[in-house]
């Protein structure tokens, strides 16, 4: 769990411009706002389900900044709202997913936050943990096979997923073939109710890198800039033929796993309150203000703008129609789908 001192926070921009820094903050604010909106809509009985990613904002905004739009491929998991927005999905698209409307990328078939967008280079994935990692490795293999040396695959998962056999199989394969693949673990300490201590016997996932013969690195996932640096380094190495990396960003899951979960059954308010002290969003606001990248008023205006955008996206998406019953039968196979021919 990343401890960081808010007061004397330094600003190592790792070559990022003021605009990029502001973009990172806006992404963080937007992610939090959209996250909350999902929970709110559920509590209003308007959507049956929503997932939260509060606490992942810095990690995802920083990682998104290292992603080359239109070139790289993202294979995320279901807690990556910020990454999705960071690589180009609009709040409206997020809301379509939450409302399961016909216009949604998946035509309202998938759970919320299970995005897919060829345009954005975002691979489709299921709710099954680690099932997407072999896919990501396969995609990386394809990139290498076609000699697309300027492209790499960014794949994310939580700490719990590292226990899956497919995680291991994928890491090993990526290493053997030196694939342009970056395994970014968003270690938020909790797999629904299972703490990291019950997930693995030693707490540092990055240490497994050596066993596969690939570089590993651990970084503070509450710091978007350190995150950017770690992800950027790994992606650059992948793009330049340096092979895969296993990088681990530490953060914390502030909300329950989902709207179906009550985290107070397995962890204490105190623990969460303690972690809230390191909340990356206000922390990064403070840093940008402290270093004159933005004024307090600028931040306030940005927050208002984000809320407006979220409200508009919510209303617009809600007003869209559901898919039709007939849509259940489409895209089963190419062409006719009856089992009897």
């Amino acid at each position: 769990m990343a401890k960081t001192d808010t007061k004397t926070a330094s600003l190592d921009r790792h070559g990022l411009s003021d605009d990029q820094l502001r973009e990172i903050l806006r992404n963080m604010l937007l992610q939090r706002q959209l996250d909350n909106r999902g929970f709110q809509l559920n509590r209003q009985g308007k959507v049956p389900f929503a997932l939260g990613s509060e606490g992942h904002e810095a990690l995802q905004a920083g990682a998104a900044m290292a992603f080359h739009r239109g070139r790289d491929v993202l294979a995320p998991y279901y807690r990556d709202l910020g990454l999705a927005v960071g690589i180009g999905l609009s709040p409206y698209e997020i809301m379509l997913s939450i409302f399961a409307r016909a216009e949604d990328h998946n035509g309202g078939r998938q759970f919320p936050n299970h995005y897919s967008s060829k345009r954005a280079g975002l691979m489709s994935f299921s709710s099954i943990l680690a099932a997407h990692i072999p896919h990501a490795v396969g995609a990386a293999y394809a990139l290498k096979y076609r000699g697309e040396s300027d492209r790499a695959v960014l794949c994310t998962c939580g700490d719990g997923t590292t226990s899956e056999g497919e995680w291991h199989e994928s890491m090993n394969f990526a290493a053997i073939h030196k694939l342009p693949f970056v395994m970014l673990v968003e270690n938020n300490q909790w797999a629904i109710s299972t703490p990291l201590s019950k997930q693995m016997a030693q707490p540092e996932i990055w240490k497994r890198a050596a066993g596969y013969g690939m570089p590993g690195r651990r970084f503070n996932g509450f710091d978007p800039l350190e995150t950017y640096d770690a992800v950027n380094e790994a992606m650059d190495r992948a793009r330049s033929g340096g092979g895969p990396s296993l990088i681990e960003g530490t953060c914390y899951r502030y909300l329950a796993h989902s709207t179906d979960d009550n985290d107070m059954t397995y962890r204490t308010r105190e623990e969460v309150r303690e972690e809230r002290k390191n909340d990356p969003v206000p922390r990064f606001e403070a840093i940008l203000i402290e270093h004159g990248v933005m004024s307090a008023q600028d931040v306030e205006a940005m927050r208002k703008d984000v809320l407006r955008e979220t409200n508009e996206a919510t209303d617009a998406a809600e007003a869209m129609p559901y898919p039709q019953a007939a849509d259940l039968y489409t895209h089963v196979y190419e062409g006719a789908w009856q089992p009897w021919q």
Binding site: S127, L129, T194, Y266, A325
Partner: protein, 336 residues
């Protein structure tokens, strides 16, 4: 129904409470019993079925596993081979596929491949089924993927009292049992559950409603809907018999045949998709055993042949049948 019941009294509970009460009893009565699965500990399972178990029975017997389904089942197989009575939980049936080899290739073959020297008394519990807005990965029916497998037993109760009796039987069973619990019935279905220990033998169906004009065979959530439809049809003067299979493998052949030979018509209703589903086996069996009693083609009312129900409500509704749809099918069959 209740065999060897030690008490006449009963308690009203829903299916979650019935599973919970039965597991609790099993943990209390036999310290060889351990429960392992994702989030079964402090969280008490995502449906709160094992709530507070870890406090009472401790972490050695209520094991929060890493997210690794193949090893959840595989480790339980090892425990069973070495004399424990593990109850493995797959959090959602949709997550069971990584464990497919451990269930089909290992658990179901331990006794056979060791020529009886090793056995695998193991219960694998998993919530399945739709109607809960579970989308592609929280609503599948998996029974047809497993009912082809000799060495494995499959149970799918629908009523709290059956849940208790059959789960007790599954736990006592000397062979691996896949115990399917329908999510939608978890809190929707309430019923009186006899107190005390009792078992319901696997492979015994339950005739929920007598009828003379049509036999309806089902299991899981649809049993309740089929029953509702059949009862409503009484008003139209239609006499429909409803059979709850309760266990899918072994399956109660005589109950099905007796009913079909009486009514001469068979409608099979299940939530799983039709092609290669449980209904296919029942149809084949009845065609083999009772063809000359049939006065109408056997009919199966099942899910369409698509990979899953969608998340959006219309997609789920289109995938699932409804009591009204079932009633119409029953009318058509009786009038045929």
């Amino acid at each position: 129904m209740a065999v060897s019941s030690t008490s006449a009294a009963s308690t009203l509970m829903n299916n979650v409470e019935a599973v919970r009460a039965t597991l609790y009893e099993a943990m209390k009565n036999d310290d060889r019993t351990v429960i392992l699965g994702e989030d079964v500990g402090a969280r008490g399972n995502v449906f709160l079925i094992t709530k507070d178990f870890i406090g009472e029975f401790g972490e050695r017997r209520v094991i929060d596993t890493p997210i690794a389904e193949a090893s959840i089942v595989g480790i339980a197989v090892g425990m069973a081979m070495e004399g424990l009575r593990p109850i493995a939980e797959i959090q959602f049936a949709d997550f069971i596929y990584p464990a497919f080899n451990q269930i089909v290739g290992e658990a179901a073959k331990i006794r056979y491949r060791s020529n009886g020297e090793y056995t695998c008394p193991l219960v694998i519990r998993t919530p399945y089924g739709g109607g809960v807005r579970g989308a592609l990965s929280h609503s599948v029916c998996v029974e047809a993927l497993f009912y082809h497998v000799p060495g494995l037993k499959i149970v799918a109760p629908s009523f709290p009292a059956d849940v208790k009796g059959l789960l007790n039987a599954a736990i006592d069973d000397p062979d691996p049992v896949l115990f399917l619990e329908h999510k939608k019935t978890y809190r929707l279905i309430k019923g009186e559950v006899p107190d005390g220990h009792y078992t319901i033998p696997l492979g015994k169906a339950n005739v929920l409603k007598q009828g003379t004009q049509l036999s309806v065979v089902s299991y899981g959530l649809y049993v309740h809907w089929a029953l509702e439809a059949a009862q409503n049809l009484e008003a139209e003067g239609l006499s429909v018999e409803v059979i709850d299979l309760r266990s899918i493998r072994p399956m109660d052949k005589s109950a099905i045949l007796q009913s079909v030979e009486k009514t001469r018509k068979l409608l099979i209703v299940h939530e799983d998709n039709k092609f290669g589903g449980i209904g296919a086996e029942i149809s084949a069996m009845v065609a083999e055993e009772a063809l000359f009693h049939l006065d109408a083609p056997i009919r199966r009312l099942c899910a369409p042949d698509v990979p899953a129900m969608g998340y959006a409500l219309p997609l789920e509704e289109e995938y699932m049948s409804s009591p009204a749809e079932m009633a119409q099918a029953m009318r058509d069959m009786v009038r045929f």
